[in-house]
């Protein structure tokens, strides 16, 4: 019974995590593109005319807007498959998370609850299998919509995704050689050691070429620029999702970001140590838990106070400039930061975190590791945005040439060399 409760809890945590990062990512996409293109970006949507959070309210407003939009279903569509497509895309994007470890484990006495949703023996192969299915959502949407653009978008992206799936498979094969296990959690555990005594033993240092191949294939699999030919605004308007509106479109939109978050999670788990904190293994983290916690609380208190002071200053400076409730925002946020600073200080003084006890230290280590995973995932999510607003789109023949004539031989070479090294190093 307790096991089922834990499993449900982990699934819910994962869903909440995905949707939170999703909102942050949509915000990051807009604000990041604005930053790269020297614009201001979204800043209008607000809660009560006061809280704007630099545009962070916009994704929420978008979802609300799409909820209230009329759902236009063009005539002559294949209604069943037309309705199925957004579900398929969304569900497949979410389900991929199942084998992704987002932390070490929660230790409750002698009970160990590993922090991943399903402990499948097939591990990373599950990722490959689900990725191979993700083609169908797009092909369904493209085919069932009774529209030329969607059809072309669907066909294009199918050919693109299957071409890069092989390269992804080859990169994963080389990883299997290195780690000798299909389980993602085993791979992450192995990455906790040190290489040559000073580098973290991350996949990216063991498999640099494999990492580049995997990263490129993942970009192609998520239909993300420079591989977004399925959407190709200049040619196909918006590709496979043109005929969708309202919540159906929202599902496509969210699924696109969700799959990017999964991809970021897998990149960080396979090549960047996942939940491992570089140079700090679990034992060290536990031994010095009290010190780390105390120091971070002090740092937190100082920074929160600093933010509060800056916001207060800004409030004083900008008061009367806008002439409406918007100028209250620095004040409100400043108060929030001030309260946070007080909480940190209070925790330092009252709870005396310098002495956590064994259980507390274990929990502290787990939390830090989960945070490490979240930070890495956020960074690679940002990488997707960064690349999108930096690189132009490929032409279709270039895409195919890159996939089949460059990456496939390179992937095979990488696999062969890795095997040879393993053979010689035995």
């Amino acid at each position: 019974m307790a096991e089922i409760a834990w499993a449900l809890g982990k699934i819910l945590f994962m869903l909440v995590f995905v949707f939170t990062v999703l909102v942050v990512m949509i915000w990051g996409e807009r604000k990041g593109s604005a930053f790269i293109q020297d614009r201001i970006g979204p800043n209008r949507a607000s809660i009560g005319g006061v809280i704007r959070l630099g545009g962070l309210v916009h994704p929420v407003a978008d979802v609300l807007k799409l909820l209230f939009k009329e759902d236009l279903v063009p005539g002559a569509v294949n209604r069943f498959f037309y309705t199925m497509a957004p579900f398929v895309v969304m569900v497949i994007a979410l389900v991929t998370f199942a084998v992704l470890p987002f932390g070490d484990a929660i230790y409750l006495g002698d009970k160990v609850i590993p922090l991943r949703i399903a402990d499948l023996d097939v591990g990373i192969l599950y990722l490959l299998a689900i990725t191979s299915l993700s083609v169908y959502g797009i092909v369904l949407a493209g085919w069932a919509s009774n529209n030329k653009y969607t059809f072309l978008g669907g066909i294009r992206s199918t050919a693109q995704m299957i071409s890069y799936e092989i390269n992804m498979g080859l990169a994963v094969l080389a990883l299997l050689l290195v780690y000798g296990s299909t389980r993602v959690d085993a791979m992450v555990v192995e990455q906790g050691q040190l290489l040559f005594g000073f580098l973290p033993r991350w996949g990216v240092f063991l498999q640099p070429l494999g990492f580049v191949l995997f990263l490129t294939s993942v970009f192609a699999e998520t239909n993300r620029t420079p591989f977004d030919l399925a959407e190709g605004e200049s040619e196909l308007v918006s590709g496979y999702n043109i005929e969708y509106s309202s919540m159906k479109f929202a599902l496509f939109f969210m699924a696109e970001y969700a799959s990017m978050i999964v991809a970021a999670g897998f990149i960080s788990s396979l090549y960047f140590g996942g939940w491992q904190v570089p140079w700090l293994d679990t034992i060290t983290l536990r031994e010095h838990a009290g010190t780390f916690l105390g120091v971070s609380l002090w740092v937190g208190a100082v920074f929160n106070l600093l933010f509060a002071a800056l916001l207060w200053k800004r409030y004083r400076r900008e008061r009367g400039l806008l002439g409406d409730r918007r100028e209250l925002e620095p004040l409100v946020l400043g108060i929030v930061f001030f309260i946070l600073a007080l909480v940190c200080l209070g925790a330092v003084v009252i709870a005396s975190p310098w002495n956590l006890g064994e259980q507390g230290a274990a929990h502290f280590a787990t939390v830090v590791q989960v945070l490490s995973f979240i930070l890495k995932t956020l960074f690679f999510s940002w990488l997707f945005i960064w690349v999108r607003w930096t690189l132009p789109r490929f032409r279709y023949d270039q895409l195919m040439k890159l996939g089949w004539q460059l990456m496939l031989p390179l992937g095979l070479l990488n696999f062969f060399v890795t095997a040879a090294v393993v053979l010689l190093a035995r």
Partner: protein, 160 residues
Amino acid sequence: MQLHFATVFVFLALAVGFAVIAMVISWALRPKKPGTVKESPYECGEQPEGSPWIRFNVRFYLIALFFIVFDVEVVFLLPWAVVFKEMLAVLGSFAFWEMVIFIAILLVGLAYVWGKGDLAWVKGLPPRDEEDLEALSWYESGRFSTDRRSVHTSAKPEGV
């Protein structure tokens, strides 16, 4: 192990549940006013013309064929990669060579497809008329990369 697959299934059910709930809420809230104009397929504001299910290029079909073959090959290498370290202890370097043979056979196939020019997306075809020739020479002059070997044309490539 079955328990863990059951967890995946629960996850799947929850994900579907989430999507269904979102759709139901939206269905309850949104206006429903269909009309003939709204129902017409989107074609940038023009009158839709012809069937949307156009015939697409045969190359897509070829890519799918190659994909099956190479995917199966990757799948056959998977078990080998998983137990390679273990097999080294049992079989010695034969474990390595059995993979090398397999990949070598695979490479013959790749080389064949490559040599036939079927991996190149822009595959040259004999030009049919003046217009084709003109297009071709333009195509080759820029930074376009074509598979020049199979282009039977007198147009001299100028650039790379």
